[in-house]
Amino acid sequence: MKFGIMVNEGPYTHQAADTAYHFVKAALDKGHEIYRVFFYHDGVNNGTRLTTPPQDDRNIVERWSKLAEEHGLDLVVCVAAAQRRGIVDPDEAKRHGKDADNIAPGFRISGLGQLIEAGIQSDRLVVFGD
């Protein structure tokens, strides 16, 4: 089965990003396909590579990057939500005159259409939020 995943909250503040991650892992372990993980609202904050969480706690951003690399996951950060919150890739930095970018490995910035497409193309769309 193909799952689309929507993550509406950022790392640590809400459990949504954790629950989504564990769900995705379990789905992959069962042989399902993850069509896309779409990050919206504060969920875009899962995509910054600049976090330094405590050493004795899970590293939510790196965990996503690693899972994406292992399984070829499509992690998409919504461009509009990212612009509001300062999640920037090199193209966006250039386009908007920012002096840095911060996107984490494995994530890409794209439009809300990617969420709708995930809803259309997946068998199930699961929302994790607050």
Binding site: Q15, A16, T19, H22, F23, A26, K30, D123, L125, D130
Partner: protein
Amino acid sequence: MLHTVNKSPFQANSLLSCLRVAKEGSAILLIEDGVYGALKGTQATPTLEEALKKHTVYALEPDLLARGVREQLHEGVKTVDYGGFVDLVAGHDTVQAWL
């Protein structure tokens, strides 16, 4: 349909709203802080017991354990792990998140 509820019944009306519109025979999965709605001996237990008459109610076990409330789980509630969560989503045509 599968409904997920992630709020404690003491914090928000999410569980009540879910129960107001969930069609009889739905599956309701309590996750994150929503697992506080799966317990016996609380003021929210009557709400749960009403729900159990009409729906199948599940609680995500890792969330019960994390919160130290596994022993208070109401006997009518089934537990699932994340794999079981995936199975529930796959086994229902649609899933709705009550946030």
